[in-house]
Amino acid sequence: MLTAIGISGLKKAFGDAHVIQDLSLTIPTGSFYGLAGPNGAGKTTTIRMIAGLLRPDGGTIEVDGVSVWPDPRAAKRILGYVPDNPTLFSRLSAREMLDYAGMLRGMESATIRERGDDLLRVLGLEADADRQIADFSLGMTKRVGLAVAILHSPRVLILDEPFGSLDPVNTQVMEQLLARYRDGGGSVVFSSHVLDVVERLCDRVAVIAGGTLVAEGTVRELAGTGSLEDAFVGIVGGRELKKEDLGWLSSSSD
C-alpha cells in the first residue's frame, strides 16, 4: 500500500497546552480520508503541520514520500491546502488570485488561464471572477480557496472543514469535483464535523481527541451497524443537558 501522508510521533504544544501528543497516522494513496474529532481536538493543528505552515515540536510527517519538516517547500509543491477560512488576498479578484497562485507554483501563463477559467466555471464563480474577494460570501471564498488549492493539480489535497458554509448545490459540486480528483489518482484528506458527509465520502476515518488518535479504520469498522455519528459520540464521549439547565429558555423573552 502506497502512503499519501505518513505521520509518526507528532507532537505540538502551545505554551503549557499540549495540543498534539504522539500522533501517528498512515493515510493511503488514492483514499478519501476523514479526520473527525470534537472542537479543540487538534485537527486543524495537525492539518497545518501537514501543510507546512506550523512547525511541530517532534515527530515526522511525509507527504507522498517527501518529508515536510524541516524544509516544507518541496512537500508544499505537491499538496494543495484549503483552510477552514481560506487565506486569500482579499483585495484581489478571484481570477487574479488564481493567477497569483499559478505563478507562484511556476505554471505557464496559458495553463494558468485555461485551468483558471475551467475552475471558475465549474465552481460557479465565472460571473464574479472580476470582483474582489473581500466582497464574497464565505461560501464563495471557500470555492476560490478550493480553486487555488487544486489549480496545480496536486497529488494530495488537504481540506479543513470544506463543506461548512456551502449551500447544497455547491456541496454537491464540490463532492463531485473531489471524487473526480480522487479517481484521477489524487488523495483527499479532510476534517469535518459533518459526519454524514464523512460517512458518505470517506474510505477511512481517524478520530482525534485530546491531541491523540483514539480510533481509526474504515467507516464500517468504526460505525458498525449504527451511524458514524453514534459511533463518534460513543468514542469521544457524549454530553447531555440536565433537565434543570437553561430552564429560562423555555419562557419567551420579555
Binding site: L88, F89, M107
Partner: protein, 517 residues
Amino acid sequence: MALVLFRLRLALQRGGRDQRGTGGTVWFVAGWVIAVLFGLAGGTLVAIFDSQDTAAGDMIVLLLMTALFLSWILTPVLLPGAGGDAIDPVKLEQFPLSRTEQITGLLIGGLATPTAVATFLVAVGATVAAGYDVLTRIIVLISAVLFVVLCVSTSYAVRALFAAALASRRGRDVAIIVSGLFAVGVFLLVEASTNILRSADAAAGVIGDVLSWTPPGAAGAIGIQMRDGDAGGAALRAVIVVGTVALAIVGWTWALDRHVRGQAGSSDSHRSMNRREDLALVPRLLHGVRSGTALAAMSQHLRYLFFRSPRAVQLITITPLFGIVIGVTQAASNPLTVSMAITTLIIAFGGVTNVFGYDGVGIEATVQSGARLQQVLAGKIVAVVLFLVPLTTGITIAFALVFHHVDEVFVALIASYSTIAIVAAVGAWSSVRSPFNVSSASNRAAQLPRILATLGVALALLILGGIAWAALTVIVPSSIAALTVLLIGIVMAVLSVRGYGRRLDRSPDALLEAVTG
C-alpha cells in the same frame, strides 16, 4: 447604554495595553502623561494670550484652536486605522442599539482619550485668563467642552465618511484627491500663518475676526466675545459650533446607515486580456515579463498600491506630498542633491520598510505555495522601486526647474536613485526582521520604536553615503562619485534582498505570525 460603551472603550484601552506587555504599559502611561503636559502647556499659552486682551493675542489663540481642530480632522485622513482601541461601530450593529445610543456612546468613548483630554486642557486654559468675570469663566468652561465634542464628532464623522468613500472605486479616487488637496491646504495654511505671525500685527484683528467665524475659531471666540461684552456675538459663535457638531453627527449617521444598507460600491476590476498568456493579475506595463514568483509578487503588490488597499493608497498619495513639502523647505537653502536625498528618503521609507504589511492573511497562501520567499521579497521591493523611480525623477526635474538648479539635475537624480537603493536595502532587512500588519493599529503602535530605529539606520547609511560621495569628489568628478555611490547602493540592496530572502525561506514562521495577526 452610553455609559456601557464608555466602559467598553476603557476596557479596550486596558486590553490593548495588556496585550502589548510592559512596553505597552509604558507607552500607555507615557501617552497620557505627554497628553496632559501638552494640554497644560497649551492651556497656559491660551491663558497668557487671552490675558493680553490684544488683537494679536486673540488671533494666536484662535490659530491654536484651528490647528488643533485640523489635527483632529487630518488624523483619520492620513492615518485611517488610527485609534485601534476605539470601538468598531460595525461590531455594534449586532446589538439592539438605536443609532442615537450608538453615536452617543461612541462619542462619549471618544472623549476618554489622551488626545481629547489634551484638547480640553488647551481650550479650558482661558478660564484662568486675567480680566474674566465669573460668568465668562463658566461660559469658557462650557465652550471648552463644546470644542472637544466638536473635534471628536468631526473627526469620527470624517473617519466614517472616508471609510465609506474608500469602499467604492469612484469614492476612492475622490478621497485620494481630497486628502491630497487637504494635506497641501494645511501646509499652505501653516506657511501663511507663520508669515502672518511674523509681520502682520495690523492684520491680526481682521484675521482673528475671520477665524472666529470658523467652527474651531468660533469655539475659541465665545470667551473672547464675552470678555469684550458682546454676548450676542458669543451666542452666534456657540450656534456655529453646535451646528457643526450637528452636521458632523448627521454625516456620521449617514455613513453608518449606508454601511448597514450595504451600499459598499462596486469593486469590479474588469480588464480586457488580449493575448492568451496575458494574466489578469499582471499590470499591462509588465505584460511580456517572464512569468514566475517575482512577477506574481510584483503584480500583487502593484495592484495593492494602485488602488486596492486603502492603507497602501494613503502611502502612495500622502508620503510624496510630505516629501515634496519637506523638499521645498530644504531646496532654497541646500544643494538640490541634499534636498532630493531627503525628499526621496521620506517618499521611499514607508514604501519599502514593511512590504508584507498589506498582505494580511494572503501571506499564508504565499507561504503555503512553497514558492521561494526570496523572490517574493524581491518582487515586492522591485514593485515599489518601479513606482519610486519615475516619481522621484519627475520631482527632481520639477525642483531643478523651479529652484533654478538645472545644472545639478543629473547628480541630483543619481542622489535620488542612490537613496532609493539604500532605503531598499534597509527595507529588505526591516521587512523580514520586523514585519507587521498595517491594518492593525495596535501593531503599528507597538512597532513605532522599531520604525524609528529603522529610520535611524536608513539615515545613518544615507549620511555615510553622503560622506563617501564628498570624499570621492576630491579625487574624481562629482558625476563619477555619484555613480559610484549609486552602484554601492544597488549592490547593498541586492545583497540585502538575497540575504534576508534566504532567511525568510529558512523560517517564514515569524512573518506568518506577524502579518496575519
